[in-house]
């Protein structure tokens, strides 16, 4: 059977499973719609976090980026895993104990302010839309290569699938679909890696096989006059590697669609366990990705060393991808440099093309396509829940119409998901920039807005409304303006060059660290200059620090001790 036949089969089977789950997990109240009735077991939630988290960028783009960046690609590997340590230790258990529906809920109650709630809701919507654009573009890439439909139709089909299970099942439907999507994406990612590791080294475990492949790759690089693959800081300065890693980690911990997943388990203990399971499941893919990066680079450079650019044009995988325009063979010539050759290959195709370039069977190629779709759709649906809950719960239900009945809130939530999907689809059809780049900016914004005020809200009882609002606004505004200035040639129409190159050597991806530090400083200074929060807010903070519910008497004791 052909690649397209297998792809249709795998995509058909997996999409039917998602729809089946949607019908089975329909919900009829807002608790089910926003937090899945808080009945998700820790292991299942770990898988759902994994799928929610691992997006088109993780599945499709990341190994390609690492492959082209070598050591410096570690920013993505560490940045998108290390944040779970922060999440597990600083946020997840406490936010679960707080136990409402959304991140703006916490911000609004902890900072006793509807303004803070609205600012948080708007920031959540903004960050989520930035992020969802990348997912929809990923769906488009997979459809256009493997199913030979246009990107536009690919995006529309993806939107319809998400619409069915997110509108019907809300968080409950999304959670159980994500569990299925995690299984699809991890199998689809690992099967080809195992097969290639076995072919190259005789050992199928990629994490071990790299011990044999890396010396060969570094040797090949030197033979071709390239620097070593394992040498640090050839693409990014040490400062930028540091800043980007910090931004990706703290951004991970501050992304609303990841945090709300911890509201769906039954207690604090399960929230902690979910963080462990989540990182374990994510680590399975993230420790295999550097192997994909090395293997694919080795295959490409090895064929280049053997047959040269003209010889490579005869290879079937090159011809397949040349048709999509993602490898520009038109620029290839006899005697071109390996750097020039690599620059004509789009990074986003590495994972999708690896099974073909290693000559794996067609069924594997089709499975990888289904995995890429699972990764993109699961993240998109998690983001839709955040957008919907911010609009329907925080803005409509708490501010515009607090008297609304549960049925009415549910209806508004469903309409919000539907509307959000249409915007997401438009962003996917007319994508702003490259997948990983766009996603990386969402991290800078999350790091500079939510992370500081959430952590301070839990660990610093004295932290007050004035501090948090000003801190959040300062961090967000600074980061947003800096990104626009540094990426003006991409994001501002009609501008050819960046307006500023960098901020003290820090690039647009790493700038969130400065926004985050500003947020911490402004929050601290403004809090110190203004009165302490009311006693009932300090009681909330005392309450969320302990897994069991404290009695009124215990709270009075704590307040008396604090003096």
């Amino acid at each position: 059977m052909s690649i397209i036949g297998w792809t249709f089969l795998w995509v058909g089977i997996t999409f039917s499973v998602y729809i089946g789950i949607a019908v089975w997990s329909r919900v009829s109240d807002t608790a089910g719609f926003y937090v899945a009735g808080q009945g998700i077991p820790a292991v299942a939630n770990g898988m759902a976090v994994g799928a929610d988290w691992m997006s088109a960028a993780s599945f499709i783009s990341m190994a390609g980026l690492v492959s082209f960046m070598g050591f410096d690609g570690s920013v993505y590997l560490m940045g998108w895993t290390g944040g779970y340590v922060l999440l597990a230790i600083l946020l997840a258990p406490f936010l679960r104990k707080f136990g409402e529906y959304t991140v703006p809920d916490f911000v609004g109650k902890r900072y006793y302010s509807n303004t803070a709630r609205v600012v948080a809701a708007v920031a959540a919507i903004f960050v989520s839309f930035t992020y969802v654009a990348g997912q929809m573009r990923g769906v488009g890439v997979v459809f256009s290569r493997f199913l030979e439909v246009s990107v536009t139709w690919g995006v529309i089909i993806g939107m319809c699938i998400v619409a069915v299970y997110a509108v019907l099942g809300g968080m409950k439907g999304v959670t159980w679909t994500q569990v299925a999507q995690y299984c699809v994406l991890i199998v689809a990612y690992l099967i080809p890696v195992f097969a290639i590791a076995y072919t190259l080294t005789g050992n199928p475990i990629p994490q071990i096989a790299i011990g044999e492949v890396l010396p060969r790759l570094d040797g090949l690089q030197q033979e071709l006059g390239l620097g070593t693959y394992s040498g640090p800081f050839s693409n990014l300065s040490m400062l930028n590697v540091f800043c980007i890693t910090v931004v990706l980690m703290t951004g991970t911990a501050g992304l609303p669609h990841v945090i709300v997943r911890f509201y769906t388990v039954k207690d604090v203990k399960s929230a902690r366990w979910s963080a462990f399971w989540a990182l374990l499941f994510i680590g399975l893919l993230y420790t295999a990705a550097p192997a994909v990066a090395m293997f694919s680079r080795f295959y490409i450079l090895d064929s280049f060393a053997q047959v040269g650019a003209t010889g490579m044009q005869e290879l079937s995988w090159i011809q397949n991808w040349a048709q999509t325009g993602l490898i520009q063979t038109g620029q290839w010539s006899e005697g071109m440099s390996p750097e020039a050759l690599l620059s004509t290959i789009d990074r986003d195709i590495i994972v999708l093309a690896t099974p073909e370039l290693a000559n794996l069977s067609n069924w594997v190629v089709g499975l990888v396509a289904a995995g890429g779709l699972a990764a993109a759709l699961s993240t998109a649906s998690g983001l839709m829940i955040v957008i919907s809950s911010s609009l329907a719960h925080d803005i409509y239900g708490e501010i515009i119409n607090p008297q609304a009945t549960d049925q009415r809130r549910l209806l508004v939530g469903r309409i919000a998901i539907f509307g959000g999907l249409i915007v997401a689809g438009v962003l996917g059809i007319y994508p702003p920039g490259f997948v990983a780049e766009v996603v990386a900016f969402a991290f800078g914004l999350a790091a500079a807005s939510f992370f500081p005020i959430l952590v301070l809200g839990i660990f610093w009882k004295r932290c007050n409304r004035q501090g948090a609002v000003w801190g959040l606004v300062t961090g967000l505004a600074f980061t947003f303006i800096m990104i626009v200035l540094m990426r003006a040639h991409v994001v501002v129409p009609g501008v050819q060059d960046p307006i500023i190159e960098s901020f003290m050597g820090i690039n647009a991806q790493g700038i969130g660290i400065v926004g985050m530090v500003l947020n911490f400083i402004v929050t601290y200074v403004v809090t110190k200059a203004t009165p302490a929060p009311p006693q009932e807010v300090q009681d909330i903070v005392e309450q969320i620090r302990y897994p069991r519910t404290l009695s009124a008497e215990e709270l009075r004791e704590a307040a008396a001790e604090a003096g």
């Binding site: 560490m78 779970y84 922060l86 230790i89 011990g211 890396l214 040490m238 203990k269 462990f276 550097p290």
Partner: protein, 101 residues
Amino acid sequence: MADVPKPNIDRVTYWRKTIRRSLILLTVWFVVGYGMSIFLAEPLNAINFGGIPLGFWMAQQGSIFVFVALILIYVLSMQQLDREAGVEEVESELSPPPSSH
């Protein structure tokens, strides 16, 4: 709450210990993720670790294994601390799903 045995430590001590354990784990997180994998990557690359320069291996493999281990240690050590301080959740008094207003 009569069936809850008298805790070994009070809540103030519990919270102080929570902070201390968190800081220790975050220190390891920083030393491994930033110290060994970024700041010292270049010198560590001189050491061969099963065919791979150590700095590179830490940045692309080792750090992730350590992150998973850190969360596991946190979960287990907090469970033990919860028991000592008598603040673990009791099955019957789990916080109910938020009311729908």
